[in-house]
């Protein structure tokens, strides 16, 4: 049982936090988890991404092809579109990305994270909408596992709105 994913966006969009939450949920279930972050030297506006591996065994933190890739901005889309494994899922932040993929061998989910989060009253929760979409593609970690982590890790006043955002992302696709 192994799941490999990449989260990529611009610094401040919460991509590394998403990776941490998934890892924390998987680690609580006894999985070996590896999160390898990468970010530029820029204080603002640089690329921020992470590669996440959930597995029974210990292996490479660097991913050849991922099961799930989340891209939050157009530059990330261009860099990672081709790294989705055949049969895997590419999740696209359509609030910021107007490009479309020509690939037909993968599942494509286009979701306006910012609009969905804004409608829920918290534009800043758009990364939780995105996380919901990612969790939908996973077997190892369930929606309830991630909710549990949010309840434990977040400030109490932020829990409700982020849980709602997470569910909205999860339930966006059937």
């Amino acid at each position: 049982m192994k799941s490999e994913m990449i989260f990529s966006g611009i610094g401040g969009q919460g991509t590394i936090l998403m990776g941490k939450l998934v890892c924390t949920a998987a680690a609580a279930k006894g999985m070996n988890v590896t999160l390898a972050p990468a970010y530029g030297q820029e204080k603002r506006g640089g690329r921020a991404s992470c590669q996440v591996v959930l597995s029974k065994e210990i292996g490479s933190p660097v991913i050849s092809e991922a099961d799930t890739i989340l891209v939050m901005d157009e530059e990330s889309f261009k860099d990672y579109e081709k790294k989705v494994k055949a049969g895997g899922t590419l999740i696209i932040n359509s609030s910021m990305i107007s490009l479309t993929t020509a690939r037909t061998d993968i599942n494509v989910v286009e979701m306006p994270f910012t609009e969905i989060a804004t409608n829920l009253g918290s534009a800043r929760s758009s990364n939780m909408v995105a996380l919901g979409a990612v969790v939908k593609t996973l077997d190892i970690v369930t929606l309830e596992d991630v909710k549990e982590v949010l309840r434990k890790k977040m400030k109490p006043q932020l829990v409700d709105v982020n849980l709602k955002a997470l569910e909205a992302g999860y339930n966006f696709t059937k």
Binding site: K20, C23, T24, A27, N32, V33, T34, L35, A36, P37, A38, Q41, I58, G59, S60, P61, V62, I63, S64, E65
Partner: protein, 348 residues
């Protein structure tokens, strides 16, 4: 078994060092090592630690030398540019027999370079770095668990041999987060008979890097060399993965060894029998590991233009059977990329 925590490599090392009785940290922040000083600074008020942000690495390295001379555990952490500045002190600590610990989180150079992962400091760390005939013990962790484990082992080895120990991490390993089992906290009360602790009621101890006269200085050096020989005999450490039946043995350390684990799997699924020797000590280099397999092909992978590969060539029977692949600039190869390279080299 203690509970596992999800933690970053740098922080795991710092927490482990604190739990291993290292109460003194002197350093100057530099990416990708900065979480180490940050962690010590944060914990200093509540854990009874001494933390100083020095004005430069030159000072930080000399500060740990000073504390180590008193027999207490002290460390610093830096990256390549800072390690270069500390090399003068490394030479003095090696000569004086001071058991300090230095973490070098390698990033791509030369000069400022970038802040991602690299292994281009191998020559500098493993071959001395400073002036004169000396070596430091060099440990190369490959997981956050080993970052934690070596937060203790590094001090034990440094004190056992009265020699500085360098932990060679890289920008991937140090920033990476994994679940890790931390060691139990211990209190360390060293009473070394050589330490400078105030000479009340006893003869003065002298820690020196100086002996007057060529004969005396040659003897000083011969004593050092005798110690280095002993370390080479006793402390070669490595780990083997599927080496017995392998036709090709990858040689890799640090985060590259992790990438190789998955590459081995892909290669075996595709009919190439690959194994790995993973050096855990870069100095002493684990020559003994290679004696067991004189008739195999070796494939060395590094995040450098080829540095450890020289030691591999010195350790094998036939250096013509050693191939090298390296990436530069902060790029780590994917497991698939390593497999493709092996396919090209080893299938006709």
């Amino acid at each position: 078994m203690a509970e596992k925590v999800f933690m970053q490599g740098n922080e795991a090392f710092a927490e482990s060092a604190i739990r291993s009785g290292c109460k003194y940290f002197f350093g100057y922040p530099i990416t990708p090592s900065s979480e180490l000083p940050e962690y010590y600074a944060k914990k200093a008020p509540t854990e009874d630690l001494v933390f100083v942000q020095a004005e430069t690495e030159v000072s930080a390295f000399n500060m740990i030398a000073g504390v180590a001379a008193t027999g207490k555990r002290a460390m610093t952490a830096t990256s390549g540019p800072g390690f270069s500045l500390g090399c003068e002190a490394m030479s003095y600590m090696a000569a004086a027999g001071l058991p300090a610990v230095v973490v070098d989180v390698m990033r791509p150079g030369p000069a400022d370079g970038d802040i991602l992962a690299a292994q281009g400091d191998y020559f500098q760390i493993v071959k001395g770095g400073g002036h004169g005939d000396y070596y430091t013990i060099v440990l190369a962790p490959y997981s956050v668990q080993e970052m934690s484990d070596f937060g203790r082992l590094s001090f034990e080895l440094a004190e056992k041999y009265r020699n500085p120990v360098v932990v060679a991490s890289d920008g991937m390993l140090s920033k990476m987060m994994e679940n890790v089992e931390l060691p139990e906290k211990i209190e360390v009360e060293n009473n070394f008979d050589w330490a400078i602790t105030g000479a009340k009621g006893r003869e003065h101890n002298v820690i020196t890097t100086c002996a007057l006269g060529p004969e005396q200085w040659e003897q000083f050096n011969l004593d050092l060399q005798a110690k280095f020989n002993l370390i080479q005999e006793n402390e070669q450490r490595w780990e083997e993965f599927q080496t017995e039946d392998a036709d090709v043995i990858i040689v890799a350390y640090g985060s590259v060894a992790r990438i190789a684990l998955t590459a081995i799997k892909i290669a075996r699924e595709n009919g190439i029998k690959v194994g790995m020797i993973r050096p855990i000590t870069l100095w002493p280099f684990p020559k003994k590991a290679f004696d067991k397999y004189p008739d195999k092909d070796y494939f060395v992978v590094e995040l450098s233009a080829g540095q450890m590969v020289e030691d591999v060539k010195l350790s094998v029977k036939d250096k013509e059977r050693v191939e090298f692949y390296g990436r530069l600039g902060g790029i780590s190869p994917t497991p698939q990329e390593l497999f493709e390279k092996m396919k090209e080299l080893y299938t006709k």
